[in-house]
């Protein structure tokens, strides 16, 4: 791919960048790429590269192209320390790096998610407001009924008041008339009694008394008979 791409034919296009591959290149023993083994596999099989390595090493040692001197020991030491370090802490360091990246992404995602959430709540509230608007006519009807009832009640109250006032005035008149008649009656009775009492002469008085005594005697006789 590298060789077929034409170089610098157009302006540099910086975005969007191609995504990073998921995993790095496969390596065997931490040093030798897997492609080398695949390259040798058709001709020499699985043990091919290892035979090559061993042969090369023995050739270098036996022909003294590589001389074993004090640096060899130093090399063994430093390499063992490095390999020990990588084996022990490699995974942790990788996890740490991944965590750094994830924290970076998480920080920005929280902003995005909170913005989305706020907008969603805003949408719901808007929908609720729209629903409320539909019920507006019912609200107005209820209010109108309320006011009509208040007016009606007020009207009836005033009607009652008027009625009571009128009745009071009429009762007053009736009472006045009754009083007047009562007074007239009493006055007449008194006048009649007075005149009657005045007209009773002494002669008449005696006659009435004698009559009463006779009546009484007659009554007493009949009464005795009854007992």
């Amino acid at each position: 791919v590298l060789h077929s791409r034409p170089l610098h034919t157009t302006q540099q296009c910086l975005a969007p960048l191609p995504p990073l591959p998921e995993k790095g290149g496969q390596v065997r023993h931490g040093l030798i790429p897997e492609e080398f083994f695949q390259f040798l596999y058709p001709k020499t099989g699985v043990t091919g590269p290892y035979m090559l390595g061993t042969g090369l090493l023995l050739y270098l040692l036996s022909k003294e192209i590589y001389v074993v001197n004090h640096e060899t020991v130093a090399a063994v030491c430093i390499l063992s320390v490095i390999i020990y370090g990588i084996k022990k802490y490699g995974a942790d360091v990788a996890a740490f790096a991944d965590r750094l990246n994830e924290e970076k992404i998480a920080k920005v995602s929280t902003v995005k998610n909170e913005a989305i959430k706020d907008l969603e709540t805003a949408i719901e509230q808007e929908k609720k407001e729209q629903w409320r608007v539909e019920g507006r006519s019912y609200l107005f009807d209820a209010k109108r009924n309320n006011i009509a009832m208040l007016l009606e009640a007020n009207y009836r109250e005033r009607l009652l008041m008027v009625y009571n006032e009128v009745k009071k005035r009429l009762d007053y008149q009736v009472a006045m008339q009754n009083l007047k008649r009562q007074k007239e009656q009493d006055h007449m009775i008194q006048w009649v009694e007075k005149n009657v009492v005045q007209s009773i002469t002494p002669q008449q008085q005696k006659e009435s008394i004698a009559k009463c005594i006779l009546d009484l005697k007659a009554l007493s006789k009949s009464a005795q008979a009854a007992v």
Partner: protein
């Protein structure tokens, strides 16, 4: 090839062409370069995190004007760290074992801090020559001592780095020679010496990192006084 103990400190040359420039500049080139991406691979993430850590540590005690030094100090740290750590591998040449290179790094930077202080705040700069609370009779002697200590700083910086690394490398060479020589004679002693070598290797790794850090840290200290 039969190596003497000092062949590793010889400035490398190939057919008479000096390779010192490449060998000094090569180690930092091994680190991943800047990427256009926001989320990078693990190595770049770790590198960014590490550089951020170093810069924060170095720049915290400095005031705003001192932050102009951030780039050179951080690059210096990375350079020294990579050079020192790569020098622990066998058959490698460590440029920082050469006094000339360390003096070339220490002297100009120290001089820059001194001249910045003398130019911008001369009285404060010279005032640092006398610690607070000294009894009056001691003042002349103390000023002399402080001046000497000031003037010896670049020498100390360079020689510290050179001596630590050279001594370490030399020790590794000597002990590995002892291991190799003792192997046919007294294998047990050889094994014990090998153990010593392992511990020494781990020490050298620590020393490599610490020396790089100390170099830059002292420079920031000198900067703090003067900026």
């Amino acid at each position: 090839m039969n190596l003497s103990f000092f062949d590793q400190f010889a400035s490398p040359s190939l057919l008479g062409i000096p390779l010192i420039l490449i060998s000094t500049l090569f180690p930092p080139l091994l680190l991943p370069s800047l990427n256009n991406r926001w989320i990078t691979n693990r190595l770049s993430t770790l590198q960014s995190w590490f550089i951020y850590l170093i810069t924060k540590q170095l720049m915290m005690p400095l005031n705003k004007k001192g932050h102009k030094w951030a780039l050179i100090l951080t690059s210096l740290t990375i350079l020294l760290l990579t050079i020192n750590l790569l020098g622990l591998l066998p058959y490698t040449f460590t440029p920082t074992t050469q006094l000339s290179m360390n003096m070339a790094l220490a002297f100009p930077l120290w001089l820059a801090t001194l001249l910045t202080g003398l130019r911008n705040q001369p009285s404060t700069s010279i005032g640092h020559l006398l610690p607070e609370g000294t009894p009056t009779p001691l003042i002349p002697a103390l000023v002399m001592i402080e001046t000497t200590s000031l003037l010896i700083r670049p020498l100390a910086l360079g020689v510290r780095l050179t001596a630590n690394l050279t001594a370490g490398h030399l020790l590794i060479q000597l002990i590995s020679t002892a291991t190799i020589v003792l192997l046919p004679i007294l294998p047990t002693m050889s094994i014990l010496t090998m153990m010593t070598l392992l511990l020494l290797t781990m020490l050298e790794i620590a020393v490599a990192m610490i020396q790089a850090y100390v170099f830059v840290l002292l420079l920031t200290l000198y900067l703090q006084e003067n900026i």
